[in-house]
């Protein structure tokens, strides 16, 4: 199949950047989206334009590492639900289609080069409270620490977050509430994480604000594009836990 690509090219962080157009020729239907970009890059390298290939983030290419990004036709990880960019296949497009490919946009995710963005703001949020202080050792024997099934499931659903940043990219406010909500709920729901719940929520939310992410306006675009289909319930939980922790901080301890 033959496609027209509209790709964001930006030489470095301070460059203004712009959209460049590429003709992607003879792309096999069974290729993945990233393989399609690999083919286009080979064509660029074989050509005599002297142009650099298109830079983009990728790692595992099986949807679990959270490294690949890309806004495809305006939607992070494409309009296909519950998958990452590396899991998008070219059979989802039609011959002759024009595809817009842009980096994830947010003040807190500055563009490094072309389609690569710096998402270390997420790491700093985790460092602010997304952990348990004491050594929890290796996995304990089953049933030695009883956890209700519903809570274990909810925690596991939240823990599915791979930290790709699609939630931020999809949000018109570049809010990181789905990510922070998922990371906080993952630990707060379990007995190991419960003792540090208040401190964790306060620290992570304050770090989130300091990084320059926006505020949630409850439009749930994040939920719609999350490759791990994390529910906006974790945002409601984060709001609830934050309110409780803020009151406790003000009047108790």
């Amino acid at each position: 199949m033959n496609l027209t690509l509209k790709v964001w090219r930006q030489a470095h962080a301070d460059d203004r950047g712009s959209i460049s157009t590429y003709e992607a020729k003879d792309i096999p239907e069974e290729a993945s989206f990233l393989e399609m970009l690999d083919i286009v890059n080979e064509q660029i390298l074989e050509g005599d334009s002297g142009e650099e290939p298109i830079h983009f983030d990728h790692d595992c290419r099986e949807g679990i590492c959270g490294m690949c990004s890309l806004n495809i036709n305006g939607v992070p990880h494409s309009k296909e639900q519950g998958i990452t960019t590396c899991q998008v296949h070219m059979r989802k497009f039609r011959d002759g289609d024009t595809i817009w490919i842009e980096p994830f946009r947010a003040k807190a995710f500055p563009v490094v080069k072309d389609l690569i963005t710096d998402r270390t703001a997420f790491d700093r949020i985790i460092a602010a409270g997304g952990f348990i202080d004491v050594r929890t050792g290796s996995a304990v024997d089953a049933n030695s620490l009883p956890i209700p099934k519903e809570e274990a499931d909810s925690s596991f659903d939240a823990a599915a977050c791979i930290g790709c940043g699609a939630c931020v990219a999809a949000c018109k406010n570049a809010s990181a509430m789905l990510f922070v909500g998922a990371k906080a709920a993952h630990l707060n729901l379990l007995p190991q994480g419960e003792p540090e719940k208040d401190r964790r929520v306060l620290s992570m939310v304050r770090q989130m604000d300091a990084e320059g992410f926006g505020n949630c306006t409850n439009q749930y675009e994040c939920e719609a594009v999350c490759p791990k289909e994390i529910s906006a319930d974790v945002i409601a939980k984060l709001n609830r836990d934050y309110a409780k922790a803020a009151v406790k901080e003000a009047v108790a301890t």
Binding site: K6, W8, I19, N71, N73, G74, V75, K79, W100, E102, R105, A106, K107, A108, A170, C171, K172, N173, A174, S175, M177, V205, R206, M208, D209, G212, F213, G214, N215, C216, T217, N218, Q219, Y220, E221, E223, A224, V225, S231, A232, D233, I235, A236, K237, L238, N239, R240, D241, Y242, A243, A246, E249, A250, V251, T253
Partner: protein, 271 residues
């Protein structure tokens, strides 16, 4: 640990804290809207019912009640507007660079125009207060109740106020935008206060739409009925109430209040 004052500052300066302020003040304003609409609908019970209700509001707690309510609502409104403007500016700064190819997956149209619908509603609220509360139009300000010349004729004022085509048209646009604002806002209150979950999502959406539809019909039926002369200035609907009221007049201190009470006892006003 922090002093309560510092904690309050941290709360206000945090994204979630400011959103909780928006949600709580929004909830108060929705509650006011429902009460305001219910009270306004007394127009259809006739001149005396509406004017009695207005008199009751002005004499609540020896006249202090209305000021407590007004100041409370003003504070809620100011906090609501201030925090949303601050949040919106912050949101715009967080996404400075736009996508060349924008797409929306599931955000509703109403949710995307909250700031603009909110500002138009604010302009409407200022106009509405000048129109019917401050009454800058002397024609509307000097309208004594034909049945009780000592008090203001709210009934006649409402009918007079909606005579021209522009005022009802502006009300129609503003109330419709208000309902667009609420269709996203009411459901958002639950999410921001942490009360929404997968299980309650459906009922919250339904409640939000129900309240919005109720307010749209309840508020717009008044200017529309007045403009299309579906309610007459003579107040025929209230003749029965006046007869019952005259009996109370001879005994009660506040004739208007007694009339409302007797009408409520007989279930006439409520219907």
């Amino acid at each position: 640990m922090n002093s309560p004052g510092k904690s309050l500052c941290l709360f206000w300066n945090s994204s979630i804290g400011k959103k909780i302020v928006v949600a709580v003040t929004g909830l108060l304003l929705v509650g006011f809207l429902l009460g305001h609409m219910a009270g306004n609908l007394l127009l259809f019970a006739g001149r005396d019912a509406l004017n009695d209700y207005a008199e009751f509001l002005h004499h609540m707690l020896h006249g202090a009640g209305i000021w407590v309510a007004r100041i409370g609502l003003l504070v809620a409104l100011i906090l609501h507007v201030m925090s949303t403007i601050s949040l919106t500016l912050h949101n715009r700064a967080a996404r400075k660079e736009k996508y060349e190819h924008e797409a929306t997956v599931q955000a509703s149209k109403s949710s995307r125009i909250m700031a603009i619908s909110g500002l138009i509603i604010l302009a409407f609220v200022i106009f509405h207060i000048l129109h019917f509360t401050v009454r800058i139009d002397p024609e509307l300000a000097n309208m004594p109740d034909p049945n009780e010349p000592g008090r203001h004729d709210v009934y006649g004022m409402v009918l007079k106020g909606f005579e021209g085509p522009f005022v009802p048209a502006f009300y129609f646009i503003a109330i419709t935008l208000l309902c667009s604002h609420l269709s996203h806002g009411i459901a958002s209150i639950f999410q921001t206060l942490g009360l929404r979950s997968r299980k309650t999502e459906g009922s919250i959406k339904a409640l939000s739409w129900l309240v919005t539809a109720l307010l749209w019909v309840g508020f717009l039926i008044i200017p529309m009925s007045a403009y299309f002369k579906l309610v007459s200035d003579k107040g025929h609907a209230s003749t029965g109430l006046i007869q019952q009221g005259t009996v109370a007049d001879s005994t009660g201190y506040s004739p208007g209040l007694n009339r409302v009470q007797s009408a409520i006892q007989q279930g006439t006003v409520a219907e």
